[in-house]
């Protein structure tokens, strides 16, 4: 591989080490499917490599990864049917979600909390869910969300406000 190729490879692998968990997490809370979330995360990185190879200018690789992930999830949402909460529960069992297993025990200490959160997110529409996850799980600022979604910052702020209000109705708690 050439010097330039090496640099790009290092950049992408460094990005993988740094952001793969975050991208996976984002994809999981958008799709509620661990396997799918992994595939989407992987696809996001391979597509980023393709863009690097095409010498596309990527100023912020994190934002780029989120943009690609977002597109992949939107494509996936357009294809699939809505998932019922009961199906989601079965999916956990299918994935051998066992609170006692080492793989998951660090992830969620409280299974009920996990299901409550997922039910709340599931009840939101796709646009609100996307923005809530980006704001409160990915810790993105409205500016960063605007960059990823391609919308104006004002639009993002308004949508965020509506999403928080909707979430509040569902969970009966206030978001700070």
């Amino acid at each position: 591989m050439s010097v330039f190729g090496n640099r790009k490879e290092k950049l992408l692998l460094k990005a993988y080490d740094e952001f793969s968990d975050a991208i996976f997490r984002h994809a999981y809370y958008r799709t509620f499917d661990r396997h799918k979330a992994r595939d989407i995360m992987q696809e996001a990185f391979t597509r980023t490599w393709q863009s690097l190879q095409e010498n596309k200018k990527i100023e912020n690789i994190r934002a780029f990864l989120y943009t690609v992930t977002n597109h992949l999830i939107i494509d996936d949402v357009r294809k699939k049917r809505p998932t019922a909460f009961s199906d989601m529960r079965n999916e956990d069992e299918e994935n051998n979600f066992d609170p006692a297993s080492t793989a998951h025990i660090e992830l969620f200490m409280n299974t009920e909390a996990k299901h409550l959160l997922e039910a709340s997110l599931q009840a939101l529409d796709e646009h609100h869910r996307q923005i809530i996850i980006m704001r409160f799980v990915d810790d993105m600022t409205p500016q960063e969300i605007a960059h990823v979604t391609g919308e104006r910052e004002n639009t993002v702020s308004v949508r965020l406000h509506r999403a928080i209000r909707k979430m509040r109705e569902i969970t009966d708690h206030s978001l700070d």
Partner: protein
């Protein structure tokens, strides 16, 4: 009924969701293989409409032409025609590296590359015993070299200790991840054993480097030790061969080890003849080569065979 948590706390818990170590390592390996398969062949390096750049372009063109074959060989895999060119190119690049840290990084990268190549072949279902043997022999060499340079790095200056530890950990992770992709028996334990062996060999070689060749009197005990090591290596190779036969598989690493063993025994005979003729320096050089063969054999017998016949 469980009291619902504050939503903010729910999101804090949500942030704990992440990939398992195995998933992350497997994903990284996949990405690395993907990158290798999808490298761009050319780059737009030079802007147009500039005399200076035209001159640079001309010089570059010459350089690119001369390394064209090397570039073409870059994606080749063990067993392919251009693979020796690839190894030769790596050797040339290796001679240009001066600092211990860069050398340690370079050798670690090469060890990883050999694992990736095996994985690519395995994916294409082209991991023949011959290709596997070549790849594993080179893996053994790079593992030892990487460890030698990591040891030198760690002893050079305390400030390099974290970097040495990081390089060591990277090699071990790669062995673990690829061991699973390559379907090694007891992949994790095998990787750890390989790392320990490479470390042992590397430490011994670093010590040997400082030992001067005997001018007059032959060091009998050193030669006896080498012969003893050779016999031990022979036993290990035989045991590994029997294990593979019992499991009904071929272990390419053992096949390669047998070849190295044969080579080492020939050199041992030659070393004895040189000693009798009082050519101690030549005998010493042969003994060092035998020791290197024995070290590589030890590494090779540490590489497990795959669980299923390919």
């Amino acid at each position: 009924m469980i009291k619902p948590k504050h939503t903010k706390e729910l999101f804090e818990e949500a942030k704990l969701l992440c990939l398992t170590k195995e998933e992350k390592a497997a994903g990284r390996s996949f990405l690395t293989v993907y990158i290798k398969k999808n490298e761009a062949k050319g780059h737009a390096l030079i802007k147009r409409n500039s005399f200076k750049n035209s001159l640079i372009a001309a010089l570059f063109g010459t350089a690119i032409l001369s390394i064209g074959i090397a570039q073409g060989a870059e994606g080749s895999l063990p067993g392919e025609i251009l693979f020796p060119v690839k190894l030769a190119t790596e050797a040339v690049i290796g001679t240009l590296i001066r600092s211990t840290e860069e050398r340690a990084t370079w050798e670690s990268g090469l060890a990883r590359k050999r694992l990736e190549e095996m994985s690519s072949l395995a994916e294409k279902k082209q991991l023949t015993p011959y290709a596997s043997a070549i790849a594993q022999k080179n893996l053994a060499k790079h593992l030892i070299n990487a460890r030698m340079n990591i040891t030198r790095l760690a002893t050079e200056n305390e400030k390099f200790l974290p970097r040495a530890a990081e390089l060591n950990s990277n090699i071990e992770s790669a062995l673990n991840a690829y061991g699973k992709i390559l379907d090694w028996k007891d992949a994790k334990e095998a990787s750890q054993a390989l790392m320990l062996k490479a470390e042992e060999v590397a430490n011994e070689r670093v010590k040997t480097e400082r030992r001067a060749a005997p001018k007059k009197k032959k060091d009998q005990s050193a030669h006896k030790k080498i012969e003893l090591d050779l016999k031990k290596a022979e036993s290990r190779v035989m045991i590994k061969k029997d294990e593979a036969v019992n499991d009904g598989v071929q272990n390419p690493a053992v096949i390669e080890a047998e070849s190295l063993l044969e080579n080492a025994f020939e050199k041992a005979t030659e070393s004895r003849e040189k000693t009798l003729k009082e050519s101690h320096e030549e005998a010493f050089i042969l003994d060092q080569e035998i020791q290197r063969n024995v070290d590589e054999i030890e590494i090779l017998v540490g590489i497990p065979h795959t669980k299923k016949q390919r």
